[in-house]
């Protein structure tokens, strides 16, 4: 809690402050608490003040989504064979998404993955597929299939809270194993070589 400002004193809001405030709210009270009005109260400004730094709530959420993908661990091109690398990349993405379960449904409900981080991961996947012997149209199809599968599974774990206000449950071990099985089936079917 910052000290209360006297009238006439600047709030000193920045785009970055708005972003971190939104992430604080998300971490402490879940997606449902991330409202423009709630965020404004958290930052001790009036709701409309936010619009000097963010064009809309949607734009704010999009930014939060793409920022999340920066945490995905990319495989070492030297150390790992392409199939293992692909498996690890998708697995890391899945786990990152699981840490912010309640944000995932927005991925599918909205734009999916169009931010810079998302695009970067896509390029890495394409190169891994190529090294695994999959190129051209099949590679583009495999890319989409792997993305949809991974985000879909994360969204599935993120079943809406039974009671609104519930915090995310601990990651379900059975579901994680299930994700791995499916990923294995997919990579086998696609024919990615080791």
């Amino acid at each position: 809690m910052p000290p209360p400002r006297r009238p006439g004193q600047r709030a000193g809001l920045t785009r970055a402050r708005v972003l971190t405030g939104a992430n604080e709210l998300l971490a402490e009270h879940g997606v449902e608490s991330v409202t423009m009005r709630g965020l404004a109260k958290h930052l001790e400004v009036t709701p409309n003040a936010l619009y000097s730094h963010v064009t809309s709530k949607t734009a704010l959420l999009d930014e939060m989504l793409d920022d999340l993908l920066a945490k995905v661990q990319t495989p070492d091109p030297q150390a790992d064979d392409p199939r293992t690398g692909l498996h690890q990349l998708m697995s890391s993405t899945y786990h990152v998404l699981l840490t912010h379960q309640d944000l995932v449904p927005l991925y599918l409900a909205r734009q999916g993955a169009r931010g810079h981080n998302a695009q970067h991961l896509g390029e890495i996947m394409i190169s891994l597929l190529a090294r695994g012997g999959v190129t051209g149209q099949p590679a583009r199809e495999a890319l989409r299939v792997l993305i949809v599968y991974t985000i879909g599974f994360a969204a599935f774990a993120a079943r809406g809270p039974l009671v609104p206000g519930d915090r995310p449950q601990p990651p379900n071990q059975e579901l994680i194993a299930n994700f791995d099985s499916g990923l294995h089936w997919l990579l086998t079917g696609i024919g990615v070589t080791k």
Copy 2:
């Protein structure tokens, strides 16, 4: 438009009328138009009148979601081999979901598939997997993988309208082909026999 009622005259609302009214709104103006207040206006009653027939908006949407699955075509156990049957069942599910694109994100955001129709389809899938040589724990995992993949792909097609109020776009042929490729890879990886 029903004729205007005189004061004291009953509205004659029923649970079924509320459901069909909601589906009309969905078909004509999209999910975003399905609000309790908007639905009330469509049915020419006050908003709170709906709560005599439906416990909440969430319950209403759940019912709408499960009703949708009744339209899925189930394969003929006699005519088709299990792998083809499974492919057709998932494909039919995918196309049914595509006809109501904007409803799909709710599937993943909320309960997924818990209604009677969803459960019935799950049982058919399990028996098809068994006939295809997949039983026990692998069958349960395959079931979830196939469901997540199918709903995920439908949700992916259902990218939020770029401009709020946009109506669903015509089914994208490229995406449909992509769904088929992935489904093929999955069934191959799972090892469902013909």
